[in-house]
């Protein structure tokens, strides 16, 4: 399912969060949306999720203009803590299953085992790492054609990061899903990505296929990102 942004701008007051951005995301690929804090990564994801509307331009998922109802097709992992703290892990799973018709209970059970999460535990008793894992379980259990992950690794230790990478690779359906990961932690996700997109102060300043970048320019995404940033800050 194709996701498209056409000449999209978003202002918060006088400040531009996105300036005339056009992007296309195709099925079966993992995209990295990379940029420093405040560059417009989260705004881009929220627009695709129908949580924020553009001031100008169009956002389309599967040729349908995005509204709040797009959550049927788009699974969105927020960077924020979004759980009811009195819920148990099991309550949270059931709540998600009741909200989303594409929620796959079998997949959720398998993911809970993989992630070593206890169904009976209260959310407030979970460590930060386990809350991060639970967020991923909820997002990956949906069979939605678009998966948006906002900073899935942020504040998590290397063991948790590894388990998240493994679950992504195990549970993404590459024939049917499009995955967009927003992060400033580039090293962790480079081997996961097909395409890297650099966003800076609301502008898309580069998009590259990860392997082509290595093949033709002999640099990793991180090196490319750093040199692009240095150029931008020089201007």
């Amino acid at each position: 399912m194709t996701v498209k942004l056409r000449n999209v701008s978003k202002r918060y007051g006088k400040d531009f969060s996105l300036k005339n951005v056009s992007l296309t995301f195709e099925t079966g690929k993992i995209y990295g949306l990379l940029g420093p804090n405040g560059s417009g990564k989260s705004t881009t994801l929220k627009m695709i999720a129908g949580l924020v509307y553009p001031n100008n331009g169009k956002v389309e998922v599967d040729a349908e203009e995005v509204t709040r109802k797009i959550c049927k097709k788009v699974a969105y992992l927020t960077e924020l803590d979004m759980f009811y703290s009195s819920f148990t892990v099991g309550n949270m799973i059931e709540f998600y299953a009741s909200q989303f018709s594409d929620f796959d209970m079998e997949k959720a059970e398998q993911l809970l085992i993989d992630m070593k999460l206890d169904r009976a535990k209260k959310i407030k008793q979970l460590s930060k790492g386990n809350r991060g894992r639970l967020k991923l379980v909820l997002t990956l259990s949906r069979k939605s054609p678009v998966l948006l992950l906002d900073e899935p690794f942020s504040g998590l230790d290397p063991m948790v990061r590894d388990s998240i990478v493994k679950s992504l690779l195990s549970y993404i359906n590459f024939d049917e899903q499009t995955v967009i990961i927003a992060t400033h932690e580039i090293d962790e996700i480079e081997p996961l990505l097909d395409e890297a997109i650099v966003i800076f102060q609301g502008d898309i300043i580069g998009q590259k296929n990860v392997e082509t970048l290595r093949e033709e320019e002999g640099v990793s995404v991180l090196e490319w990102f750093k040199s692009t940033m240095v150029q931008m800050e020089g201007n």
Partner: protein, 123 residues
């Protein structure tokens, strides 16, 4: 386990190199089945499209064969496997010679050095 990759080389080539040396070392035998693309992706923490490219590239080189509906297998063609072994040898020698040149050794000095090394090893 997620492996560390060199920054300047495509990841699909690094994985192909790794598999090639496993084959030459005999850790994977002629005719043996390779892990599926998905398994390989999970084990190495790499995008499945990249692994697919690794397998395609190795197939192009004749090192592996894909059988419809069955998976990807190490070739049983001994000539290809012999050629692969010789290619890996040439790669390692290439790196060695380059390093020696950078340290300022001549061809003769390298040969002398090697001879001395083997003599000491035999003692």
């Amino acid at each position: 386990m997620t492996k560390d990759f060199q920054t300047s080389k495509p990841i699909y080539i690094q994985i192909a190199d790794h598999l090639s040396s496993q084959i030459v070392r005999g850790e994977m035998r002629a005719g043996e089945k390779l892990p599926s693309v998905r398994e390989m992706a999970i084990n190495s923490g790499v995008n499945p499209n990249t692994i697919q490219r690794t397998y395609s590239e190795m197939e192009r080189m004749g090192i592996v064969e894909t059988k419809r509906g069955q998976g990807t297998f190490v070739t049983e063609n001994e000539q290809v496997l012999k050629a692969l072994k010789i290619r890996l040898q040439a790669d390692i020698i290439g790196v060695f010679v380059q390093n020696m040149k950078e340290l300022g050794f001549s061809q003769e000095e390298m040969m002398d050095g090697l001879e001395q090394y083997f003599r000491r090893e035999q003692e």
